[in-house]
C-alpha cells in the first residue's frame, strides 16, 4: 500500500506527444508505471514509447481501464482537458502545467469536487510511490521504497529531501508534490490525512514554505487527529517580505505567512520542526530507530 497510487495504477497521459509529455512518459515507463494510453487531440493512431495515442479520453477508456491521469497539456487548454478526464469518472488527475488562469483552476476544481475526481496541482510535480509507481517528475534515483510519507508544495524540495533520505538509507512510502499555488487542488492537510490512514507510512514529513496558511491548517489537523510522528521543514526563514518567491503562493504579507509563524504553530501541534535538511534526516533516523 501507498497513498493515491500503487502497482495497479493504470495511467493515461494527456499531452503525450508533446516534448515534455513524451520525455516524462518515457521516465514513467522506465520506472515501471503502467502507462496504458495517451491522448492528444488530432494525433489518434500514433504510438509513443509503445503507448497507443487516442484523440479522446473516452476512446482510450473504451479500450483500457484507466484510474489515473497525468496531464502535460498547455495551460490555456488545461481546463478543457481536465473536464474531459472528470467526465470520464477517472478518480485521480495530476496537473503538471504552470500558468493556468485562476478562473479556469476554480472551475476545474468545482467540477472535479462534484464528480469525485481528486486533482493534484496545477503546477504540481506529482506523486511517486517508490518501487511501485511514478506519476510525476520525480528523478527515480532519489527515491527508495520505505515508510516515510512526504508531502511538499515544491517539487524540487521534495526531490531534494527524497535524495537526502535515500542517501541516508531511509525509504519513502509515497512522496507527493502539490504545486506552488495560489490554488491547490489538494492541500497538505488532505495528504497528511491519507498518510495517517496508510499502514505503510510510519513517519510523515511535511515540507512547507512561506506564504498562505495551508501549513497552519495541516498543523491544526495534526494536533487533533494524527497519532504518527510528523517532522517538518519550512523553507524561507530568510525570505524578504512582500515578494512572491517563485511560487505565486509563496509571499509574506506584512507579518503573515512567515516561516517563523508556521514553525511556531507546528511545534505547538506536536510536530518535530527541523531548522535544516540535516536535522530532518537526524530526527527521522531517530524516530525510525
Amino acid at each position: 500500500m501507498a497513498i493515491l497510487i500503487d502497482k495497479n495504477t493504470s495511467v493515461l497521459v494527456q499531452g503525450i506527444t508533446g516534448r515534455s509529455g513524451g520525455l516524462q512518459t518515457r521516465t514513467l515507463i522506465e520506472y515501471g508505471t503502467r502507462v496504458v494510453a495517451g491522448v492528444t487531440p488530432g494525433k489518434g493512431g500514433m504510438v509513443v514509447h509503445n503507448v497507443p495515442v487516442f484523440n479522446f479520453v473516452d476512446e482510450a477508456c473504451l479500450n483500457y481501464k484507466v484510474n489515473a491521469v497525468i496531464s502535460f497539456v498547455p495551460p490555456m487548454v488545461a481546463k478543457d482537458a481536465a473536464f474531459e478526464v472528470i467526465d470520464n469518472g477517472i478518480p485521480l488527475l495530476v496537473l503538471t502545467m504552470e500558468g493556468v488562469p485562476q478562473k479556469d483552476v476554480v472551475e476545474i476544481l468545482s467540477y472535479a469536487s462534484g464528480h469525485n475526481t481528486r486533482v493534484i496541482g496545477p503546477g504540481a510535480a506529482g506523486i511517486i510511490a517508490p518501487g511501485k509507481c511514478k506519476l510525476g517528475a520525480h528523478p527515480a534515483r532519489m527515491f527508495k521504497e520505505g515508510h516515510v510519507g512526504v508531502v511538499s508544495k515544491s517539487g524540487a524540495l521534495s526531490y531534494e529531501m527524497g535524495k537526502r533520505l535515500t542517501e541516508a538509507g531511509i525509504g519513502q512510502s509515497t512522496v507527493v508534490a502539490l504545486g506552488g499555488g495560489p490554488i491547490w487542488g489538494t492541500n497538505q492537510k488532505e495528504i497528511v490525512e491519507l498518510f495517517q490512514k496508510d499502514p505503510e507510512t510510519s513517519v510523515i514529513l511535511l515540507l512547507g514554505e512561506i506564504g498562505g496558511a495551508t501549513e497552519i491548517k495541516a498543523a491544526e489537523y495534526i494536533a487533533d487527529h494524527v497519532t504518527k510522528p510528523v517532522v517538518s521543514l519550512i523553507v524561507g526563514r530568510h525570505a524578504p517580505s512582500g515578494k512572491s518567491l517563485g511560487h505565486a503562493g509563496a509571499i509574506i504579507v506584512g507579518n503573515k505567512g512567515t516561516a517563523a509563524s508556521k514553525m511556531e504553530v507546528l511545534v505547538e501541534a506536536g510536530v518535530h520542526v527541523a531548522q535544516n535538511p540535516r536535522e530532518v534526516i537526524e530526527t527521522i533516523s531517530e524516530l525510525l530507530r
Binding site: S20, Q24, T27, P75, M76, T96, E98, G99, P101, Q102, K103, V105, V106, E107, L109, S110, Y111, G123, A125, G136, A137, H138, P139, S152, K153, S154, G155, A156, L157, S158, Y159, E160, K163, G181, P182, I183, W184, N187, E209, I210, G212, A213, T214, K217, V235, G236, R237, H238, A239, P240, K243, L245, G246, H247, G249, A250, Q275, N276, P277, R278
Partner: protein, 381 residues
Amino acid sequence: MKLYEFQGKELFAQFGIPIPKGSIVRTIDEIRALNTPLVLKSQVLSGGRGKAGGVVLCNDSASLIKEAKRILGSTLKGEKVNALLAEEKLDIIQEYYLSIAIDGEETRKPLIMASIAGGMEIEKVAEEEPHLVLKQPFNPLVGICDYHIRKISNFLDLNSEFKSLQKILRAMDAIRFECDATLVEINPLAKTPAGLVALDSKITLDNDAKSRQGELFEKLLQQQKMINISNNDDMEMDMGSITYVPLDGDIGLISDGAGTGMLAIDLIHDHGGRAADFCEMGGLTSPEVMYKAMEIVFTQAKDELKSLLIVLIGGFNRMDEMAEGIIRYSKDHSSSVPLFIRLCGTMEEKGNQMLKEAGFPVFDDLDEAIKKAVNSARGAR
C-alpha cells in the same frame, strides 16, 4: 496586473456599476477648468491613499489649485503621482465593503466578501472583528445565486437596495469572468440619496490569462503609458517564467525550483553568507531561460557578485539543457566570478559531463556547494 482606480472605474461603468462623475487630470491647467466642490484622488496603486494625504476634498477653486499643486508630482507611498482623478462630491449615508476574490486555500472557489465596515482595510476588519465580515463562496460553474445576494443584503441591512446590489454583484462577477480578474473590490461602496455608488475600485487581472486577454491588457498598458505611470508588473512580465527578487548579499543565486531556492537562501544564511538575489526559473525551462537567468543575475546585482551559486535538481527540467545554457552564457561573457553548480536529476549524466568538459566544478550535494560558494565569497572580500 493591478489596475489604477480610474481604469477599474472605467470597467465598472462599462459593466453597469454606478460610479461618481469624474475625469482624469494631469496638469494644473486641466484642473483650473473644473468646478468645485470635488474630490481629488491620487492615481497610485498603494492602498491607504487617504491617510497619506493623497485624497482630498476641495470646496473652492483656491484650495483645488493649492492641493493639486501639492499632490501632482509628489511621491505617495513610494509611487510618483502623475495623474489625479477629479470626482464630484457625493452625500454619503453609509459606506460598505464589497469584493469578489479567489479563495485558493480553503474553498477553492470565488469568494464574495461583504462588510458594513466600508473604507477600512478588510483584512484587518476580518481579523479583529470577524462578525462584521460576511464571506460567501459560490460555485463558479453556477455563478452567484439570488439567495447569496439576499444573504448579503440582509447582512448589510440593504434590503431596500436589493435590486441595485444584485446588479452590482452580478456585474462584479461578470468582470471576474470576462476579464479574468482575480480581485474585484469596491471599498467603499456608498449608499447615497441617489442609490449605491462605487467610490473606489481595486481590480487585479490574472497575468496568466494575458494571452487570451491580449486586447484588454494592451489597452490598459497603453493607458498607463499615456499618463506616464509605470506599472511595476511590467518588468516581471518581460522575464517570462523567471522570478527575480534582489536581496542584500553578494552571493548570486539561481534555482530551478522555488522550494530549493528558498532553502538555498536559508542555508547560505546559516553558513554565514548572504544571497544577492532570489532567481527562480520555473519548473519547465530551457537553455535560453538558463542563459537569461544568468544575464539577469549578473546585470541586476546592486554590487559586484563574489560568487554565483546555481542550484539545479531536475524533474521536468533537463540537466543537459541547463548545462548548455550555463556553458553558452559563460562563453559569451568573460567573468571572474566563480560558479558553484549543484546539478542532479533528469538527464544528470549528460549535464554533468558537459559541465566537467567545459571546466566547471559540479556538486551533487547542496550543502557542499553552498559551503564552497560562501567560503569563496568570504575569501574574495
